[in-house]
Amino acid sequence: MTEAYLQESQAPPRGHPVLRVLGKIGMPAVVVMLAVFFGAMNPNFWSVRNLSNVSRQISILSLISLGQTFAILSAGIDLSVGSLIALVSVVCAQAMLSFGVAGGILAGILAGCAAGLVNGVVIAKARVPAFIATLGMLVAARGVALTLSGGLPIAGLPRSFLVIGAGYLGPLPFPTLIAAVAFVAAHLVLTRTVFGRYVYAMGSNEEAAILSGVDVPRYKILVYVVSGLFAGIAGVVLTSRVVSGQPTLGEVQELYAIAAVVIGGGKITGGVGGVGKTLLGVLVLGILGNGLNLIQVSSYVQNIVIGAIIVVAVYVDLARERRR
């Protein structure tokens, strides 16, 4: 039997040669190039202080992007993560004033998980499309945060809580450590557990996953709980960073989380991607934001650059995949 195992769909990518080269060297090289570029433009970029600063700045985006990775891999999306940060922040701060630091942290993370659970049930059981369900949560969770707080920041948090956002272990800020642990954990879950395998399966072909015995509704709910969990951790860290419960935190962060996933090479329709790719996306966004500030590019122009990067990254990825 001499069957060709390759289908006739593996051809060189199309598109502009520059983009083809980009596609070949891939995102890791882009990250390195960005770092080298900004380092050359401003030597401060490579200072330990700045690098630890960047790593802390991207810790929040990292956390919610990890949750978003689960959602997008499973062929869903979680638009609510930005608002959940605000909800978590308010709940965490209020609970902390009454029940102490541990109580506040726990309450915040539970609030994130609970909102994720609501998302998951609405999506998996009521079969509302993820885009709509989490869009509803985006609006509603912010409303809950504003209502609980009366629109005002909640100050007076215990000194000891601030160490989460401001503390260091050697040169490493705590938020960076938390994000790093989260990356490793998420990677293990996605690559080494049954749940992780099912996340990919649901995103690759939900119908086939069902027929292969995957209890899709159950694991879908779990996906959004995980996303809520990461939003919960992010909310707690950010609350500590801004030293107060803030109902206005996290606005549009969900879009940057989605951007991080797709810039890294995750497929917006699910099934393709992973923690490593998301990390690359987060790094691109983080290095760009910091580097452009350091070389004093106007924040207006920064928006243009980042917007273009999102589209170009996906285009390059498609050019890589697209075959003739």
């Binding site: 390759l6 006739e8 593996q10 072909n205 119908e207 292969s212 015995g213 209890d215 393709v272």
Partner: protein
């Protein structure tokens, strides 16, 4: 015969196409004359699809030339092919499902009542569409929304569209794969009309019986090269197969009768409102139970209901003597059942996942300790099945996307096998795979029953049903309308049983894929 051949409409000469790591076409020649049905034969991966994709402008060749009526033609994109009078009807139709038949036929070329305002002349649109449908003697309303039509009717709309484009050559890629016997007859009628009008047809099919009925000449491809062009009438089927696979296949259906054991599956009065009406059946160890029926007879729905993929309103399922509640596929798999679904791409493979991940998906729990996977053990397990099914893949981490159709089907079967199933529901297990791979699937089925498994096999190919089944149930409109033992079953009897009474209008009651 060679004396008065008409000049070919199309000549493809020494066509070469390379993909990374593969020489897909190695200097292939093809000539097609007006008014001829020219069959392209070859196993999956032989190069048929690549050749027609070059002809229709989807791929650019790396070498060779194309002549239309003797003069060189450049086909760089699908629009070029259309302009040269070449239309292609793919298995996945190029129709906009929410538009009407007329809107689809004239999509992009709408007759205008006011050129300046771009207003569509709806009446002319409908009239001209009706003319094309009438030419083909088709009874399809020009104003019907395409989504509501059956597969067969949608295919006819594609043909009408090709006619409206003044096509001189129509490529049909496995047009009968999704049709029932009656619909196939109608399609053949239309093809014969086209032939009379001097339209050339390039016809791709795996069904050699059809080839014999319809084809004038056949070009056989193997491993990207042309083997030979033959006159169909002068070439026996066995010879065609030999040309395709390059060796004798031996028996077409390697049926071995196995001692039938105890009952493992019994269904009683399975009913799902509007779909299944009191279906009862039983299946025994060592048995292959064939399920025949027209498209729309709800055979796939029966398999899905048995597997817990669709809910039942009433009826019960008894497995190995014990009543079982199978309310989701996960339960069925726990009960050691496996479903190999009809639509491989939609329901079978997880194309962006690896061969290994596909094979073990249904049994992944077995490799998990405390929630964590033993990846090495999983890989050994997957390799075992990939080897025993002879899945052709460079490695187990290859995405299934990149495998050929036959190998994808083997992956789906391996997935079922790997969960230690002994009750198999095969829904059209050989659809769209080549002759060689078909025989392998048959051998595999025999191996399974020899090991004590039981198989329920849905098929639209009567020879396959007759060749492989120990018993055949015939379904019609969600009911069992007849049962035959291996001895008594004939094609005529089964067809009669499937059609008896008011046979459904072809395609009109097509079950939408659930």
């Amino acid at each position: 015969m060679p004396a008065e051949q008409p000049r070919p409409f199309l000549e493809m000469r020494r066509i070469v196409k390379r993909f990374p790591g593969v020489l897909a076409l190695d200097g292939v020649d093809l000539d097609v004359r007006p008014g001829e049905v020219h069959v392209l034969l070859g196993e999956n991966g032989a190069g048929k699809s690549t050749l027609i994709k070059i002809l229709s402008g989807v791929h650019l060749p790396d070498g060779g030339e194309i002549l239309i009526e003797g003069s060189p033609a450049l086909i760089r994109r699908p629009r070029d092919a259309q302009a040269l009078g070449i239309s292609t009807i793919y298995q996945e139709f190029n129709l906009v499902p929410d538009m009407t038949v007329a809107e689809n036929v004239f999509l992009g070329r709408e007759p205008l009542s006011s050129r300046r305002l771009g207003l569509v002349d709806r009446r002319a649109l409908l009239r001209r569409t009706r003319e094309h449908l009438d030419e083909l003697k088709l009874d399809i309303p020009a104003g019907a929304v395409v989504r509501r039509l059956g597969i067969a009717q949608q295919q006819m709309v594609e043909i009408a569209k090709a006619l409206s484009l003044q096509s001189r050559l129509i490529v049909m890629d496995e047009p009968t794969a999704v049709l029932s016997a009656r619909e196939i007859d109608r399609l053949f009628g239309v093809i014969r009309q086209l032939r009379q009008r001097g339209v050339a047809i390039v016809y791709i099919s795996h069904r050699l019986d059809e080839v014999k009925v319809l084809g004038d000449r056949a070009t056989v491809l193997r491993d990207g090269a042309k083997v030979r062009t033959v006159s169909v009438a002068d070439t026996p089927v066995e010879e065609l197969i030999r040309l395709m696979v390059g060796r004798e296949l031996g028996e077409k259906f390697p049926k071995v009768e196995v001692a039938i054991g105890e009952e493992v599956l019994r269904a009683e009065g399975l009913t799902r409102r509007g779909i299944l009406h009191g279906v009862s059946l039983r299946l025994r160890r060592g048995e292959i139970l064939g399920i025949a029926g027209l498209v729309g007879s709800r055979r796939t729905e029966l398999a899905r209901a048995l597997f817990g993929a669709d809910p039942l309103d009433s009826g019960r399922i008894v497995l190995r003597g014990k009543p079982a509640r199978i309310d989701r596929p996960g339960r069925a798999i726990e009960e050691r059942m496996a479903l190999v679904p009809e639509d491989r791409k939609q329901h079978g493979i997880l194309s962006s996942m690896s061969v290994k991940e596909n094979v073990t998906l249904g049994s992944i729990g077995a490799f998990s300790r405390g929630g964590f996977l033993d990846l090495a053990r999983e890989k050994r397990h997957a390799r075992e099945y990939a080897t025993s099914l002879r899945i052709a893949t460079p490695d187990l981490d290859r995405r299934v996307l990149y495998l050929s159709g036959g190998n994808q089907q083997k992956v789906v079967i391996a997935k079922g096998l790997s969960s230690r199933a002994d009750i198999f529901l095969f829904d059209e297990p050989t659809r769209g795979i080549d002759v060689g791979a078909k025989v392998e699937v048959y051998r595999l089925m025999i191996e399974l029953v020899q090991r004590g498994a039981a198989i329920l096999m849905i098929s639209s190919e009567l020879p396959e049903l007759l060749g492989m089944s120990d018993r055949i149930l015939v379904m019609r409109e969600g009911r069992v309308s007849g049962e035959f033992t291996r001895g008594e079953a004939t094609e005529e009897a089964i067809l009669d049983c499937a059609l008896r009474g008011d046979a459904p209008v072809a395609g009109a009651r097509e079950a939408p894929p659930p």
